[in-house]
């Protein structure tokens, strides 16, 4: 269990869900109601659960187009900075425009292997 829980990426911590969780944990640590180790455990669980939930419960698809400004591949992590992006949602064909979007993407292989 301990081994498997370390196999999930912590990249989702940078999303709104992760940031709000870390904020909340920081406050509790600040008030000395929990210790930092416990907070780390919570975040580890969060890494696992958000990855599993996104994998299992979300069925939505989307496509997007744009012009690639910057790309980077380091430590198995792709980072793209795309300008003038158009996202197209699969149902209803809703379009979303954005000047630029940063994509941070980890390899899906790693979690599958283990």
């Amino acid at each position: 269990m301990a081994a498997s829980s370390t196999n999930f990426y912590d990249l989702y911590r940078h999303g709104s869900l992760g940031l709000s969780l870390t904020d909340a944990l920081d406050e509790l640590i600040g008030d000395e109601r929990i210790d930092p180790q416990l907070a780390m455990k919570v975040l580890t669980q969060f890494d696992r659960i958000i990855a599993e939930t996104l994998q299992e419960k979300v069925k939505a698809r989307l496509t997007f187009k744009g012009s690639l400004d910057t790309y980077r591949f380091c430590d198995e992590v792709w980072t793209f900075l795309i300008r003038n992006v158009t996202f197209k949602l699969d149902n209803g064909g809703q379009m979303i425009q954005a000047d630029k979007v940063k994509i941070v993407s980890c390899s899906s292989k790693r979690t599958d292997e283990k």
Partner: protein, 392 residues
């Protein structure tokens, strides 16, 4: 896919995480209420980001007693510190005196606690704005002053009893003088015994007493500080500079006596010094050391983040740390800077996901992404699979 599906998905994640860590909380002996509080705060913060409509949003959230936000806390901190300093300082003199007086300092410390406890809720109600630092001072000090008043009365009563019991007037006078030092007395009492005090307390101690009183007393009672020639009571809390010097040479209490603000400053100074040191020496270090040193500040920042309440120190800029990095000739500083700007600007537009495939043919890229969270235009979307095509 739509923004509407985000709410239920996030809700399910929160529920799952909370139930998954319940065991960990129990094992750590942390109360279940804290876990519930964590959940509430998590949901509340998420709602504040306003990235989607969440299931918990419509129903009014029961406001739990939210303990003071980080910013508001440093204000009451100095008072306990001074209590410790006072009791530490006040304790030695009574050694030569009857036991009844030795108990007085304890009485003072205990008596003041209700005031302090009272003070906390007053601060808790603060929204945590910048003004919180100065505003709560009055409510915080008022109860303390009231509590001290009763303590002084009790002390006076006890003294009266002793006057009756003891015959020697001179001893009584000494006792009285001592008591007026140990128990912050009504002004009249101190006025009667200004000459007695120096016999028992060194000028430094007296000075400290004066400072303590200044902080406890209302601004309307300036004469507490006057005998020592000190400025009248401060409304904006204790002077940090004075604190530092006092507490350091008080009884070697050092860091324990420092308040949070000072510790922050101290840490910051240390880290800054280290960064500066690395600036000069980083290039000469072996590769392993350079890299291990590079990771040190990051760890330090994490530690600092947990230790201090207002988040990691913003003053430590990434640029400072980057100078420690192994700089390759290929690095173009201008490009780096430009990229940083880009990244800053795109903070609001971000996609976090896994990739299945990333392909490139000449300048055309194709990628297949999955399990992602997309934040764009202030709204959030989740997707199971995404395909992107773009040209470089």
């Amino acid at each position: 896919m739509s923004n509407a599906s985000v709410g239920p998905v996030y809700d399910s994640i929160i529920q799952d995480v909370i139930s998954a860590v319940r065991v960990d909380f129990e094992e750590s002996g942390v109360d279940d209420g804290v876990l519930e509080d964590l959940k509430k705060r998590w949901q509340m913060k998420l709602s504040q980001l306003n990235v989607a409509q969440f299931p918990w949003d419509p129903k009014p959230e029961p406001q739990q007693s939210t303990p003071a936000p980080a910013a508001a806390q440093p204000a009451p901190a100095p008072v306990p510190n001074y209590n410790q300093a006072v009791s530490a300082q006040a304790a030695p003199p009574p050694l030569s005196l009857p036991n009844s007086h030795a108990q007085n300092p304890n009485g003072v410390a205990v008596k003041q606690e209700p005031g302090l406890v009272k003070a906390e809720p007053g601060i808790k109600q603060e929204p945590g704005s910048g003004s919180a630092g100065s505003a709560p001072i009055h409510p915080a000090y008022n109860p303390a002053a009231a509590a001290r008043g009763t303590a002084a009365q009790r002390a006076a009563q006890a003294l009266e009893n002793q006057y009756g019991q003891r015959a020697a007037a001179s001893i009584n006078a000494i006792h009285n003088g001592m008591a007026s030092q140990i128990n912050p007395p009504p002004q009249a009492q101190q006025g009667q015994r200004p000459g007695q005090a120096p016999q028992h307390l060194s000028p430094q101690q007296q000075y400290r007493q004066g400072v303590v009183m200044q902080q406890r007393m209302q601004p309307q009672v300036p004469n507490a500080g006057a005998p020592n020639g000190l400025p009248a009571a401060q409304v904006d809390g204790p002077s940090d500079v004075v604190d530092h010097g006092l507490l350091q040479d008080a009884d070697g209490s050092g860091p324990a006596g420092m308040n949070r603000h000072e510790i922050d400053n101290h840490l910051h100074a240390l880290i800054a010094a280290r960064a500066k040191q690395m600036e000069g020496g980083g290039l000469m270090l072996p590769l392993e050391q350079a890299t291990s040193q590079r990771s040190l500040p990051a760890k330090k920042r994490m530690a600092a983040a947990t230790a201090q309440f207002d988040g990691p120190d913003d003053d430590i800029k990434d640029e400072d740390l980057d100078e420690d990095a192994i700089n390759s000739d290929l690095d173009d500083p201008d490009e780096d800077q430009e990229e940083d700007e880009d990244e800053d600007e795109t903070m609001g537009h971000m996609m976090l996901c896994m990739y299945d495939k990333v392909q490139r043919v000449k300048n055309k890229w194709k990628c297949v992404l999955k399990d992602g969270v997309l934040t764009v235009n202030g709204k959030e979307y989740v997707f199971h699979k995404a395909t992107g095509e773009y040209e470089w």
